[in-house]
């Protein structure tokens, strides 16, 4: 019975890591450090408690592992919030130290095994300890690396960091495989729920995504089958994976690997690979197994958990076709990468939407104070009736109109009309460059819009005052000498 040597060992490693911790204490990551420290003091307590008990049970060890994971997780989340090369460097050095510790530990165990054969359960316990430590190190390493990938961003890493939490406690090793497998399984609902829970823990990522897509959700509904009420079970639910949905090509040549969007194109391509692909049978459209038995209707589910189109949603509404799935997924859960070059405000994730928009871009003359434009007046008024605090924005040509019948007119004789108008347009410019919040409505904005040829509000509403000002300034530099002031002058002197 030699529980004692174990204790100093543990404490030693702890002291080591504590030392690292202190080294880490960089003003930048102070709160992170504090958190660590707290956790470590917990750790201390438990390990101190451990000294009084017999060390044989595996429970404390598991707890150590769990706490370490927790620590990692804390580190993870702080890193996610603001990624920084220095953090990365810190993490790496931390990992390095940890591996050294592990090395020491294994060395100690090894030495002790040489001294006496030891008990098998003790050996097993040590092995478990090392496994847990190694696992957490690997997880950390991967998540650190993962945060570097721009496309993955923090979604994956956060999922995995949470996932590992469950993974390390019950299974050893296959942390990542676990997640992937879980998601890939086209599983029934009951089965799925237990698997989904850890994913649901990724609270904040889900919320973030939802807030972005909330307004889109409304739009999506129009390609939905609102009227269709299919009793659950009367149709087959298919769920494509994200990668499949976003894949550029869906049909691939088995010989050269070239990808195609359409099946027919692939068949045309295959002809080049030999005469056997030129037979009518090979060129024919693959039959849809026209068997006499009734085919179950196919409906599709969105792979995004929490989405209304996901089959686990309470009010699940299936999507009718693969195309619907693709469009839905892109519109709702992807970045809007296609932006209109004419108005520079509208962005779309589906290229067809951009094309539709381009057809009437610039003709959307009904504006809301929130910056949303409408091609129809009644749509604008519906929007305003719906949202609190939104107001119809005055079209920019109003300002041109208001320039002439000004009070100034009274003081001036008709003869020196031009001077007056000059003065007025100057005054308008001055007003436009002012920093009051209503500068949104001020005449200066019509400078750029004349050039653009459409009455679009050039400024997105979410921008803060500073950026709006800088916009106004740049607008003035670009356009004011050419069209802003002098176009106004021409208008008014007519």
């Amino acid at each position: 019975m030699e529980p004692e040597p174990n204790v100093p060992l543990n404490n030693q490693s702890l002291a080591n890591s504590n030392r690292h911790q202190h080294k880490w204490k960089d003003p930048l990551f102070l709160d992170c450090g504090i958190r660590f420290e707290q956790q470590f003091s917990d750790f201390n307590q438990s390990s101190e408690a451990q000294t009084s008990f017999s060390c044989n049970s595996t429970k404390p060890n598991q707890r150590i592992g769990a706490q370490e994971n927790q620590m990692n997780e804390g580190q993870e989340s702080s890193k996610i919030q603001d990624w920084d090369p220095r953090t990365m460097l810190n993490n790496l050095s931390f990992l390095e130290k940890k591996i050294h510790q592990l090395q020491d530990l294994v060395r100690v165990i090894d030495r002790r095994r040489d001294q006496d054969t030891g008990r098998p359960d003790e050996l097993m316990f040590q092995q478990q300890l090392i496994t847990a430590d190694l696992t957490s190190t690997i997880v950390q390493l991967i998540s650190t690396a993962g945060s570097l990938l721009p496309s993955v961003k923090h979604n994956l890493s956060s999922v995995s960091s949470v996932e590992q939490f469950g993974g390390t406690t019950n299974s050893s090793g296959e942390v990542f495989g676990d997640v992937v497998i879980q998601q890939n399984n086209p599983i029934s609902k009951t089965e799925n729920q237990s698997n989904q829970t850890p994913i649901d823990l990724t609270g904040y990522t889900g919320v973030e995504q939802n807030s972005i897509t909330e307004d889109l959700e409304l739009k999506i509904d129009d390609d939905a089958d609102e009227g269709e009420i299919l009793p659950p079970g009367s149709y087959e639910i298919l769920q494509l994976e994200k990668e499949e949905i976003l894949a550029l090509h869906t049909h691939f040549c088995t010989i050269c690997g070239k990808g195609f969007k359409r099946d027919a194109n692939l068949r045309m391509h295959m002809r080049g690979h030999g005469d056997e692909y030129k037979t009518p049978a090979a060129l024919a459209k693959p039959d849809k197994e026209t068997s006499s038995e009734p085919i179950l209707i196919k409906r599709y589910s969105c792979p995004y958990v929490g989405c209304k189109r996901n089959k686990d949603h309470k009010k699940f509404q299936p999507l009718k076709s693969i195309l619907c799935v693709k469009n839905h997924y892109k519109r709702t859960h992807c970045d809007k990468t296609y932006s209109c070059i004419r108005c520079n405000t509208k962005k779309f994730s589906v290229i067809a939407d951009l094309k539709t928009h381009e057809k009437h871009c610039g003709r959307e003359k009904w504006l809301c104070s929130c910056g949303t434009t409408f091609s129809r007046k009644d749509k604008l008024f519906g929007h305003i009736a719906l949202f609190q605090g939104h107001t119809p924005a005055i079209p920019v040509d109003e300002f041109k109109g208001s320039a002439l019948p000004s009070d100034q007119g009274q003081k001036c004789e008709a003869a020196n009309n031009v001077d007056l108008i000059n003065f007025e347009s100057n005054a308008m410019d001055a007003k436009g460059s002012g920093d009051d919040p209503t500068s949104y409505f001020t005449p200066i904005t019509f400078g750029p819009s004349i050039v653009g040829g459409f009455n679009e509000f050039p400024r997105p509403p979410s921008e803060d005052a500073e950026s709006s000002l800088s916009f106004l300034l740049s607008g003035r530099f670009d356009y004011s000498p050419k069209s802003g002031r002098f176009a106004g002058l021409n208008d008014t002197s007519v």
Binding site: K377, T391, P392, I394, D407, A414
Partner: protein, 644 residues
């Protein structure tokens, strides 16, 4: 020096002992003459400051200095800009949040930008935008979102506002009590939203041609709060729509169906459910005898009825109605030319508590009827007997109505001084007297009126040819007189006019057309004393450039009619027009259009002045009376008056 200062200080401080609230209470009593408060504020700096804080109502004649004025009077809650000649979008940028009422009627140049400025007044409760033709749905939308506390909104003649704007008002401004949508191009769509307003009491839909029976039949419930409904000139609404409306709006008290569908039994039946109905206006409609009888039967609480210019009003129908509805307070039977003395006998017999009776152009009513009015309806406050057969006997009887405030005796050729003197002696509360073309009147009547009716405000002695300066001198004792019409009184001279100008400081409207003995010597005292003058007609007088130019010192002057002044030159006219800064409407001979420099006309128009060019040839008096004879036969006196 220092000693002197310390001597004066205690005297000054005595006023400081009074708290602002006490001074405010005193100021509350200074309402009779707007100049009183001005005098008060000019006493000293502290009075000026007190007056600035006290003022709640502002009704400027010009908008140029609005920004400064609003700074001086920080507690203005009611702003009336309806008299300003030209309000531009930019002048409204100064609107502040503490305004509660704004009247922008007639500001035809206002655009949506101004509406956005109005929307800044978050506490606004009442807003009048009558005839703001350039404001569209967008502007109304801004107001709907900004002014959530609106209780009253008038959009009459805002032709740019349609279903969407009105609909948004109904969605956003839930506090609306009173809504005027007259002549708007609205349809059923927004009406349903409007009728869902919980507190709506007063709704005016005059001339809304887009509203028809369909929308009203679709109205299943709601509008239980509606008390007043005006559906005048809604040509597409018949008794079908009305009956569905009346079943939904059971609390209706006032209903106007003027110039609408025929008033027959079916329509009257649809009013049956309105047990609280107090007043009905059926002006200009075709009325049947059975319809009138049914109204008399159904409308138990009826107190006001207007049948003005209705066709088909007969003795039988009217008599049946008035004998049932003895509580009638106001009755208008203008231009009901078939009713006779019998109707008047029934009216006076049953409706003894009448306060208002208007029977202009009831030419078939004989002279005896007016004696009955005086004998039985002694609570009358308003009596319109224009173009009637009333004689001195009737007038003497009517003088018993001691509450009489308004009496119209235009074109009553049978009345003389004998009758009118009784009115002057007995009706001390008379405020308005119309003697247009009642040629039997002389100075004696006016002397009696001026002596007896000291509170008189409006008097019309046009074409009473025997009136001389003596009348005007006696009228100058009536300090409340604000309107004087003395067209075609050839004996009146500048002397009489000066007397009126000096005595009647409240004079705002003066018509001395065709008083050829009035010249520049009358204009100069007028310009000096009548600082409240807003409207003047100088046609066919002997006023020249000098007289016209002197009027420039009247800063309130807005409306001017200058036709056929022989002594007027184009340059004098131009100078006068430029000098009168507040002009909004000027009637001129068309021949001047070519003689005035176009730049001046342009400039004046940009100030908000509207020119009306008249191309009438110089008419002699005899010719004019001939025209009168032919016109008055048809349209009633009022229309003719407007025409001339």
């Amino acid at each position: 020096m220092k000693k002197q200062k310390s001597m004066t200080e205690p005297i000054f401080n005595r006023f400081d002992l009074l708290s602002d609230e006490i001074v405010f209470l005193i100021l509350d009593f200074l309402n009779d003459d707007p100049l009183d408060k001005k005098s008060f504020s000019l006493v000293c700096k502290s009075f000026h400051a007190i007056e600035s804080r006290h003022r709640k109502i502002l009704k400027p004649l010009r908008s140029e200095h609005l920004a400064k004025v609003l700074i001086r009077f920080p507690f203005i809650s009611y702003l009336d800009l309806s008299l300003c000649p030209r309000i531009t979008d930019s002048s409204l940028g100064v609107i502040s949040g503490n305004l509660v009422e704004i009247d922008l009627s007639n500001a035809t140049d206002l655009k949506d930008l101004a509406a956005a400025s109005i929307a800044e007044a978050k506490n606004l409760e009442k807003l009048w935008l009558v005839r703001c033709k350039s404001i569209t749905d967008i502007g109304i939308g801004c107001i709907a979102v900004g002014c959530r506390k609106l209780k009253l909104l008038s959009l009459k003649w805002c032709f740019g506002v349609g279903d969407l704007g009105v609909g948004l008002i109904a969605v956003k401004c839930k506090e609306i009590r009173s809504l005027d949508l007259s002549y708007l191009p609205i349809t059923n769509k927004c009406l349903l939203q409007v009728l869902e307003l919980q507190h709506l009491e007063d709704l005016v839909l005059e001339g809304c041609f887009g509203i028809d029976d369909d929308s009203l039949t679709a109205l299943k419930q709601g509008c239980t709060s509606l008390e007043t409904l005006d559906m005048s000139s809604c040509q597409n609404v018949s008794h079908v729509g009305l009956s569905s409306l009346t079943s939904a709006a059971g609390c209706l008290r006032h209903l106007s169906l003027s110039y609408g569908s025929r008033v027959d039994l079916a329509l009257a039946d649809s009013l049956q459910k309105l047990s609280l109905l107090q007043s009905i206006k059926l002006d200009g409609s075709q009325v049947t005898c059975s319809g009138l009888k049914a109204i008399g039967n159904w409308c138990a609480s009826l107190t006001e009825l207007s049948l003005s210019k209705c066709s088909g009003v007969t003795d039988e129908g009217l008599s049946s109605l008035v004998t049932k509805r003895v509580d009638l307070r106001k009755l208008d039977v203008t231009c009901c030319r078939t009713i006779t003395c019998a109707s008047v006998a029934h009216i006076t017999n049953s409706c003894t508590s009448l306060t208002s009776l208007r029977m202009e152009s009831c030419t078939t009513v004989s002279a005896e009827a007016f004696v009955l009015i005086g004998q039985r309806c002694q609570f009358l406050e308003e009596l319109d007997l224009t173009e009637n057969n009333i004689d001195d006997e009737g007038l003497k009887s009517i003088s018993r109505c001691s509450q009489l405030a308004s009496l119209k005796l235009g074109i009553c050729p049978n009345i003389t001084d004998k009758g009118l003197i009784h009115i002057g002696i007995c009706c001390s509360k008379l405020k308005e007297l119309d003697l247009y073309r009642s040629a039997g009147i002389t100075d004696l009547s006016i002397l009696a009126i001026a002596r007896g009716c000291t509170v008189i405000e409006t008097i019309n002695i046009a074409y009473c040819k025997n009136i001389t300066d003596r009348s005007l001198v006696s009228l100058s004792k009536c300090s409340k007189l604000n309107t004087l019409e003395s067209r075609g009184c050839p004996l009146i001279t500048s002397f009489g006019l000066s007397a009126v100008a000096m005595g009647c400081k409240q004079l705002t409207k003066l018509d001395i057309k065709n008083c050829q003995n009035i010249d520049d010597t009358g204009m100069i005292p007028l310009a000096h004393f009548s600082q409240n003058l807003r409207q003047i007609n100088l046609s066919y007088t002997s006023v020249t450039d000098v007289g016209l130019l002197s009027l420039a010192s009247v800063s309130c002057l807005q409306i001017m009619t200058v036709l056929h002044l022989e002594g007027l030159t184009p340059s004098g006219l131009a100078a006068a027009l430029l000098a009168c800064g507040g002009l909004t409407k000027v009637k001129l001979q068309a021949s001047f259009k070519a003689l005035l420099p176009p730049t001046i006309i342009e400039h004046l128009e940009s100030r908000g002045c509207v020119f009306q060019w008249r191309d009438k040839v110089f008419q002699t008096d005899r010719l004019r009376s001939k025209i009168l004879e032919t016109t008055v036969g048809r349209g009633g006196m009022k229309q003719f008056h407007d025409m001339v």
